[in-house]
Symmetry: C2
Subunit: 168 residues, 2 copies
DNA sequence: TAAAACTTTCAAAAATAATTGAAAGTATAT
DNA sequence: ATATACTTTCAATTATTTTTGAAAGTTTTA
């Protein structure tokens, strides 16, 4: 199998997954292309390889940079901008999760906080059920934070890894 | 604040989050309604409260049942079907993650496995870079699995929780 | 068995999200 | 200063996903 084919397959699949998780297909595809590429690519390179418009590349590239997944490079003597992906996959995943947590989980946290400090009026049993649910949800979100801490640790804490093995 | 208002707010927010993560708004809304409701609801109840069509309720309810987030109930003497949500939030989250892992992560795993056992042809350095990336990605997905194991454990392993505190 | 009560299906419509591409904007080189 | 090389923007278009609603299907009751 030729490298080019392999790349294209990877780009396609990555795009489909992104799409299923609410990330624009093109954004995921660009990311996949940069991940699999040895050296920085220009806007033209990207346009050509994944066959999308200049505007699309520009827009999604900016987004990738915002998410800290891609950075701009300047090639000596070249005027064009080049882009390369952050290749530490762990960082990649952390950044994606971090970014989405920030964007889409925040509203829940705010809502939960708001609902918790309000006195809710209604039938006793119904209100109790509702409050219980809200509380559980908050506990859960706290657990998520715990979990992401562990994740950070997993990256380089050998002792911790062994710990897990033992507990399995 | 009245209970009904609080519910509606929760339903709205939950719907928006679902939507941002690639889950149909109505599906998330129905789920939120059932979560916040004390007792099982009928299709009509749901239609009325969140103002969506019968077909929509039916379709998404089936999906929620598939995901193991909701189950059918029968009220004595009633012909209609009623629905209630699994209210253990931890289970809820586990099921959502499980389900999505099954659906959307599987294709990556298959692709990675496929790409790993193929001999890829191209410039040495480029191929090396590509293979490295594929390998890292696989490691990462393995870590995700590890992480979900830990999560399960977090639920009820006090010792483990303390462990984390110490390491913090 | 037929009517009533309810559920499911699915083609069409609506809503939403992603993409294009050409025009406007910027920076660099001569 | 102006031409060139490149980047950004955004209204319009296109693609995709979600939702509707009425017809077909199913089960229960009498």
């Amino acid at each position: 199998m030729k490298l080019e084919e392999a790349k294209m397959e990877f780009i396609q699949t990555w795009g489909a997954i992104g799409s299923a998780w609410g990330i624009p297909r093109s954004m995921a595809q660009i990311h996949a292309l940069l991940l699999s590429s040895n050296e920085p690519l220009s806007t033209e390179d990207v346009m050509e390889t994944i066959q999308i418009s200049r505007g699309n590349v520009n827009l999604n590239m900016r987004e990738l940079i915002n998410w800290n997944l891609v950075s701009k490079q300047n090639k000596l003597g070249e005027r064009k901008e080049f882009f390369s992906a952050n290749t530490d996959i762990m960082d990649v995943a952390q950044n994606i999760v971090q970014e989405r947590k920030k964007r889409e989980l925040k509203p829940v946290l705010e809502l939960l906080a708001d609902l918790k400090q309000q006195k809710i009026q209604g039938k006793k049993e119904e209100v109790e059920h509702f409050n219980k649910m809200i509380n559980e949800l908050e506990d859960f979100i706290k657990q998520l934070d715990q979990l992401s801490e562990i994740w950070l640790r997993l990256k380089d804490n050998m002792f911790f890894k062994k710990m897990i093995k033992v507990l399995k």
